[in-house]
């Protein structure tokens, strides 16, 4: 692999307030996903798979579970003498914690200034996809861009997301921030940006003197003509999770073979913390169909169209359909769960029937007993 000297910076708590249920006790980055992963595993693995070996993780609050998950960074091969994983909690600030992304980057400018890498990729932790970042860096270099911004094409998602107009060369010529709700389709930004580290330093200096806080509004929107901003189209399965509905739908997407294979490409594996659970056991009268089952589960009942995280127990006569059951949860004898998102270590007592709707799944909080 040719050397692509590049630094990674991950915002671990972007849009945390968009899914209050799942993020009241954790940051966005540590939200469980896909049976055995946390959101941040995808960003980290994408960086590492592109040969990037220095990654800073910016956090704001509720980061205990994230620290626990990341540890020394060993599962991602980021526990090393030189470079590796850098945890960047709120620090060195007279302002308290930051508000916008620019402010957060200003607060960690020591980390950026003391790095030697030529390029930097900055991204959010709620982007689920298997994306070849080395291609983004190559594209950025080839185009001689100031900033390269990833984008997807399709129906606009809800939320305050920049919409792009892009010319034949790939340069972004117009950016709009439509506000919260929008209909229609087109090209919209996915928060992965690549630039030279020195360019980032320049932006941060300006931002500091001008009191800019918001990267999208104060830099992208304002300077679309001044800077050469290029769009990099993501062709693989990629989803940005910023609401409970999106969380549920994106999880269920994994039951589709194409999307699952695109996400778990064996050439670019997704790494995560290892727990050493035994493989799952399926009882004599169990029935499991169209489901994703992580290690350590014991299934005696029926599971259909669902995702089971590590160590889930489904007792005899219990029925789980269209649901996401997180680590260590228990569905007791004779009970049923349909369209339910059960957070870690929650329990459904015997002979209870809990049913939500696929368009509005019921959420059962961490360690709750129903």
């Amino acid at each position: 692999m040719i050397s692509r000297s590049c630094l990674g910076i991950i915002f671990s708590d972007s849009y945390s307030n968009a899914m209050p249920e799942l993020t009241s006790l954790r940051t966005m980055g540590s939200v469980p996903f896909g049976g055995r992963y946390r959101f941040i595993d995808f960003s980290l693995s994408n960086l590492v798979n592109a040969g990037i070996s220095k990654v800073g993780v910016i956090t704001k609050s509720n980061y205990r579970s994230l620290m626990d998950h990341l540890g020394t960074g060993r599962p991602w091969d980021l526990s090393r003498k030189n470079d590796g994983l850098f945890f960047l909690p709120p620090f060195n600030s007279t302002l308290g914690t930051y508000n916008g992304k620019l402010e957060a980057l200003i607060l960690v400018s020591d980390f950026i200034n003391m790095s030697k890498e030529e390029y930097v990729i900055i991204l959010d932790s709620n982007i689920i996809g298997n994306i070849d970042f080395s291609e983004i860096i190559d594209y950025h270099r080839e185009k001689g861009a100031d900033i390269t911004h990833a984008y997807l094409e399709g129906n606009y998602p809800e939320g305050d997301i920049p919409h792009f107009e892009i010319n034949g060369d790939g340069r972004i010529t117009k950016i709009t921030m439509p506000g919260i709700v929008y209909e229609g389709s087109g090209k919209y930004g996915v928060s992965i940006t690549c630039m030279k580290r020195t360019f980032l330093q320049r932006i941060l200096n300006t931002a500091k003197s001008e009191n800019y806080t918001d990267f999208n509004r104060d830099i992208l929107l304002k300077d679309v003509d001044k800077f050469k901003i290029y769009g990099y189209k993501i062709n693989n399965f990629c989803t940005v999770i910023d609401s409970m509905g999106k969380y549920y739908d994106s999880s269920m997407d994994l039951l589709s073979s194409d999307k699952r294979k695109s996400l778990f490409d064996s050439d670019r594996p997704i790494y995560t913390k290892i727990y050493d659970d035994m493989p799952s056991t399926y009882g004599i009268n169990s029935s499991v169909t169209n489901s994703l089952i992580a290690d350590g589960c014991k299934i005696e009942g029926e599971v259909k169209n669902s995702i089971l995280f590590r160590g889930v127990r489904v007792a005899k006569g219990a029925k789980v359909t269209n649901s996401i059951i997180m680590h260590g949860s228990y569905i007791s004898e004779g009970s049923s769960a349909n369209a339910v998102i059960m957070d870690k270590y929650s329990v459904i007592l015997p002979h209870k029937n809990i049913s939500g709707d696929k368009t509005f799944p019921i959420y059962i909080g961490k360690k709750l007993v129903v």
């Binding site: 896909g34 049976g35 493989p279 799952s280 169909t289 089952i293 350590g296």
Partner: protein
């Protein structure tokens, strides 16, 4: 000089395990896959770390590549240590010449320098080919309490099986009074598990004596232990009651895997207080499709199950296509069973491919003399080929061929 350790372990992992046949063609027995995501060596290594033994020498000789690669720096078992940790010890060249390990005792003899670096009081000598969960620190307590020179872990086996084992006779205190090696008519059912706890000073002395004896075969069971017994050293048997299985044959490996599906077997890998660690690849959860039918089975991560599995252990990254049928079988990592293929009462090696319509193995009730059929790693069984019971497939099988 490394820091002193009270007890270190030496793990005998050099054996070929020739009775496993094709499964050990390219790897040593301790590296053979087991239980969906493990390899046999995970058991002694996990037992060590769970017993507080953090220095382990792994003696390798036969086909060590897979094993070396698997052990790596030992981090999977928390055995990557500044002081101690896991060390792979292969035979090496010395001033007086180059020597392979000539026997189990000789392999330890050749590594006296390694052991002396840690200046241990006790050395545990362990086999690398048994499936069991055992707390060696309790055995060490027993060893210290008795002031023993060597303590041998002992299991009371069913009388009808006793003749397959090295047997011991003990007094009420557990003191060993006599040995009997695989007798035709056993008078004891106290079998040695191949787990020894030595007082290092004593063992060192007897290893040197044994090395200087030209008539010795340099084996623990045949030479060193009898010599210590003859010299009147204090020897005790430490009673173990739990699941223990020597997986030295294809039949016993198959059985030991299926034992995981029998709750009463006494082998629980799901015990949070005694985890079995292993080197985990980065693979997604298993996917069971809408056509999949899984009953009484273990399915490891990364699998894609579209067919039917009953009473079977499916290892990591296997693909069982729709319409395929797996019964009473062990499918090792990365193997593919295509649509309409049937695998009954068999073991399929790593990355083997069973093409569509092929039939591997047979139900014991349909056979005169049944035995488990084994398909070697990386092989392809052609379309509609038929392979009977009790066979070991060592080469690719052509489409439609019958064996």
């Amino acid at each position: 000089m490394s820091r002193k350790q009270e007890c270190i372990a030496m793990l005998l992992a050099g054996g070929q395990g020739s009775r496993l046949g094709i499964l050990t063609k390219n790897m040593a027995k301790p590296a053979v896959p087991y239980g969906g995501k493990y390899r046999i060596i995970d058991f002694p290594l996990s037992n060590c770390i769970n017993s507080g033994i953090t220095t382990v020498g792994v003696l390798t000789q036969y086909q060590p590549l897979v094993l070396n690669d698997y052990i790596g720096n030992g981090s999977a078992w928390d055995l990557d240590r500044e002081n101690g940790g896991v060390h792979v010890l292969s035979p090496y060249q010395q001033i007086k010449g180059t020597d392979w390990y000539r026997g189990t005792a000789n392999s330890i003899y050749q590594n006296i320098n390694f052991i002396d670096r840690y200046d241990p009081e006790y050395v545990a000598v362990l086999s690398g080919d048994h499936i069991y969960k055992m707390n060696y620190s309790k055995m060490l307590d027993f060893h210290k309490e008795k002031g023993s020179a060597v303590t041998i872990a002992m299991l009371e086996v069913p009388w009808e099986e006793a003749s397959r084992f090295g047997l011991m006779f003990t007094d009420d205190e557990g003191k060993i009074t006599a040995f009997e090696e695989k007798p035709k008519n056993p008078k004891s059912n106290k079998a040695s598990m191949g787990v020894y706890m030595f007082t290092w000073k004593k063992l060192r002395e007897y290893l040197i004596k044994d090395e200087n004896n030209p008539n010795s075969s340099n084996d623990f069971g045949k030479d060193v232990i009898p010599a210590m017994h003859a010299a009147g050293e204090k020897m005790y048997a430490y009673k173990f009651d739990g699941y223990w299985k020597d997986v030295g044959t294809r039949g016993s490996l198959w059985e030991a895997n299926l034992d995981l599906l029998i709750p009463s077997s006494g082998l629980d890998l799901d015990d949070p207080n005694w985890k079995i660690y292993s080197n985990n690849p980065a693979i997604p959860p298993a996917y069971i499709s809408s056509e999949g039918k899984v009953s009484n089975s273990i399915i490891a991560g990364g699998c894609d199950i579209g067919g039917e599995t009953d009473y079977s252990v499916i290892f990591s990254n296997c693909v069982i296509e729709p319409g395929a049928q797996i019964k009473y079988s062990i499918i090792m990592p990365g193997a593919v069973v295509k649509s309409g293929a049937k695998v009954f009462y068999s073991m399929v090696g790593e990355n083997a491919v069973i093409e569509s319509g092929a039939v591997v193995g047979k139900d014991p009730q349909e056979c005169e003399k049944w035995g488990v059929t084994t398909v070697g790693p990386e092989l392809t069984i052609g379309k509609n080929a038929v392979i009977g019971e009790d066979l070991m497939v060592e080469e690719d099988v052509k489409d439609g061929e019958k064996l």
